[in-house]
Amino acid sequence: MLHSFRQSIPLPSKPRNIELGKYEFHKLSNGLDIIVVEDHKLPIVNIKLGLRNKPQLQVQLKGIESLTGAMLGRGTKYKSKLDYHRALEFYGTNVGFNKAGFSTNVLTQYTEEVFDLAVEALLHPAFDEEELTKEIAQLNAGLQQVAFDAESIAANICNKINYGDLHPYGEIVTTENIAHFNKAEIINYYEKYFIPNNAVLIFVGDISLAAAVNLAQSRLSSWEARPFHEVDYKIPFLPQSTNFNIASKPSAVQTVIHVTYPLELHPTDVDITKISLTNKILGGGVFAARLFQNLREKNAYTYGAYSSLHADQICAHFDARGSVKSETFELAINEIFHEMRNMQNEMVSKSEMDVIRNSMIGDFGRSLEHSGTLARFAFSILHYGLPEDYYSTYIERLMSVSENDIMEMANKYFMPERSNVVCVGDLNTIEKAIHSQFPNSKISLFGPFGERIEQ
């Protein structure tokens, strides 16, 4: 039987418009910003409080940010930790406390009860000494495990080598820092940053604008504003030349590799859309991307290889990575460089660019299935000062990117000659292969927390 209709891609039907829903802003007199996205499809509300300050150097106290967040979930002035969580979990939910605030998903019928409990923790934390000791013991146990986790070791070295000691992103939590934590330091951090004029409160889901504002107003208008200041940091330098930074992971059966370097790329940068498309072609998480096709589908070096180049308000970075076959990890690194250079030297074809561009438009459409996406857009508009129509004109902007732009971006932002390469695995194998594949290149040895080891 001949089925000619099987031989080619079916024609699409008429495309439907991707429509952005509505978000609303409100501000309390104490400076607390409120974002509300109504969505009544399901009987659930997501409530999130986020601090807006830029990351700051903590020097010996690195980790105090997360610790303070975690301590908010360890009891209030009125309830022990256990009583607090028993009360909260009765409603079938929990509140996740972190360095940036809290987040919870709550069934509509319990919105007030859960919000009250979240606010109780936010405004009246106990910061109990005994709970602090327990939290620190937990942190310590977590750090113990880093030495056996190749990906964590690699992430620590990337941060250390990209940003250095004088930048907040270059600071790494160690057992040594943790020894400096005490109640006074936590209260100090809490008082400095957990203030309404440094926060945004976001409601998404089955709640009306009026009800959300009312809830915030009645529970949080007594939260007192205080002046605070933040320090800006210099963008770290690019390395002079490509260099290798290696660490051992005991009994490794793969090598974790990163090709990475710091970059200045603010969320308001005019290049953003062009860069996103350029990175997506290289390795941005789709099957069709070049790193995935080359390292996985052609060479079977890895289960997956990806690259990212996200904007960031204090310092961005490029990162191409994979967990790769130990016997050929150096070839995988070579292929990453090869693909970066290839995009600098050869114009991408229209058809390849279209596949990736369409996949990005698809990403955008799919992301809108979650109303949380709109809240994220609203936050970026508020926080970074992006134009109001930034997201409604996104597809238009993406469509205007040309093949030329891609080559230009690759030349401006890809640095194959000035990269930090990080390799974590079996040290003997790694050293030998680097010496033979990349002779005369500089190799530095690191411990699991990014500490330099002199050879």
Partner: protein
């Protein structure tokens, strides 16, 4: 705790009802259509009722390896084109393999529904894979195993449990399987497996999202109706297993820093009424900060840095797993003893009302979450049809769970949490 109980009740809840249309094609393909027009997206999925339990004895890992191969192409789709077509249409695609089923799906802009149906029908009718594809994916699967299991702390825990909790049943190996077996796989293995299991009468097709009913049904007919029925479809293994006769204890040396204790009990599968009771039990034991495990093991005694309990959802038989990762300096023996005490509480005492209400609220919230995305709904529809042979299970499962009583949970815990029905493993740091 008693005053908490008297002041609280469970408030009314509402869960959206999932509407769907379903029918079976002449070739046996189950078709489920769920219209949901909030966003211009459509999810197309095919669930094949084949998983690692159907791996041939000498080809452990084959079902999962096969899933990789089914992205290679077909008579009409060249190698590597499959993903490019989906992504070039603005869609995303993926697949996963469990012990019981293999699940393929695309999330597409609504106007590309036909493309997705065409691709899935090609995959079902005449998938094609050449030697290059086989060799490459074998290498990729090997790296997947190394990355996700062998190079991860505690990455092989499930494998170590399954191979002891099950004796004759193919659940005694896991989906990733054996690299030696995959190295020996031939093109003929591929042909046989495809002919046996990748047939319409062993599959459920779902379409969920923004589409016209009439158009969708016509497209399903166009692309799937002519696919021939499988003639050789039967489960080649027995769904039962020999009982565990007595406690099995073992020590496993792994690349970890902190020892771990695992206690795993043999259980019935998801179709058994007791399955849900045990699922609730696991939630009571380890769900949330105020659960028994977290409160006692992590908080009060600080014997563990992390502790949990869950029932592994399997079709034929099940396993209920409790674990704790020891705090620095704590001996596994000491941790195990405390876990034991907590477990024995659950078969001695009925749980307090307050905890039982908490459990119900938690289950309601989890159900809402599962139904919050089109992909979640699609998979739930497919699973309901595949395992329960009743698609409407998606709408009735919550009531079923909520009708379980505290007494049922106590009974189930007494029935299964027995010493002679379990495996106890201590994971210890390998001497460096």
């Amino acid at each position: 705790m008693s005053q908490e109980t008297s002041t609280r009740t469970i408030k009314e809840w509402k869960i959206p009802h999932i509407e769907f249309d379903e029918y079976v094609l002449d070739n046996g393909l189950n078709v489920i259509l769920h219209q949901n027009r909030y966003t211009p997206l459509v999810v197309v999925s095919v669930m094949y009722h084949v998983g690692s339990k159907n791996d041939p004895e000498q080809r452990k890992g084959f079902a999962h390896f096969f899933e990789h191969l089914l992205f290679e192409g077909s008579e009409n789709i060249g190698r590597g084109e499959f993903a490019k077509i989906v992504e070039g249409s603005g869609g995303m695609l993926n697949a996963n393999t469990s012990n019981d089923r293999t699940y393929y799906y695309e999330v597409m802009p609504a106007h590309h529904l036909a493309t997705s149906l065409w691709l899935e029908s090609e995959r079902m009718l005449h998938a094609r894979v050449d030697q290059i594809g086989i060799d490459t994916q074998r290498g990729v699967v090997k790296e997947e195993r190394l990355q996700r299991y062998d190079n991860q702390p505690y990455g092989t825990v499930i494998e170590e449990i399954m191979k002891r909790v099950f004796i004759n049943h193919p659940y005694h190996w896991t989906t990733i399987g054996s690299m030696e077996h995959l190295a020996a796989a031939t093109a003929q293995d591929f042909v046989d497996f495809y002919k046996d299991y990748y047939v319409p009468n062993n599959a459920v097709l779902t379409i969920s999202g923004d589409f016209e009913m009439k158009e969708a049904k016509e497209l399903v007919d166009k692309y799937f109706a002519s696919i021939p029925k499988g003639l050789n479809l039967h489960q080649k293994h027995s769904p039962s297993d020999l009982p565990l006769l007595g406690e099995l204890r073992d020590t496993v040396y792994d690349n970890i820093q902190l020892p771990a204790v695992v206690i795993a009990y043999r259980m019935p599968g998801i179709l058994d009424d007791d399955y849900q009771a045990v699922m609730l039990l696991s939630q009571y034991l380890a769900g949330g900060e105020s659960s028994l495990f977290n409160q006692v093991l992590v908080d009060d005694t600080q014997l563990a840095v992390n502790a949990g309990a869950f029932s592994y959802p399997l079709e034929d038989l099940g396993v209920f797993i409790c674990y704790g990762i020891a705090q620095i300096g704590v001996e596994p023996k000491e941790l195990e003893q405390k876990m034991e005490e907590l477990l024995s509480l659950t078969f001695q005492e009925i749980m307090p009302d307050y905890d039982f209400m908490k459990l119900k609220n938690t289950i309601i919230a989890q159900q809402v979450k599962q139904l919050s995305t089109l992909s979640g709904i699609a998979e739930e529809l497919a699973s309901s049809n595949t395992f329960y042979k009743n698609t409407n299970e998606i709408n009735t499962s919550l009531d079923k769970i909520l009708s379980i009583t505290k007494e049922d949970i106590l009974k189930a815990s007494n029935k299964y949490l027995k010493t002679n029905n379990r495996v106890v493993l201590h994971f210890m740091p390998k001497p460096q």
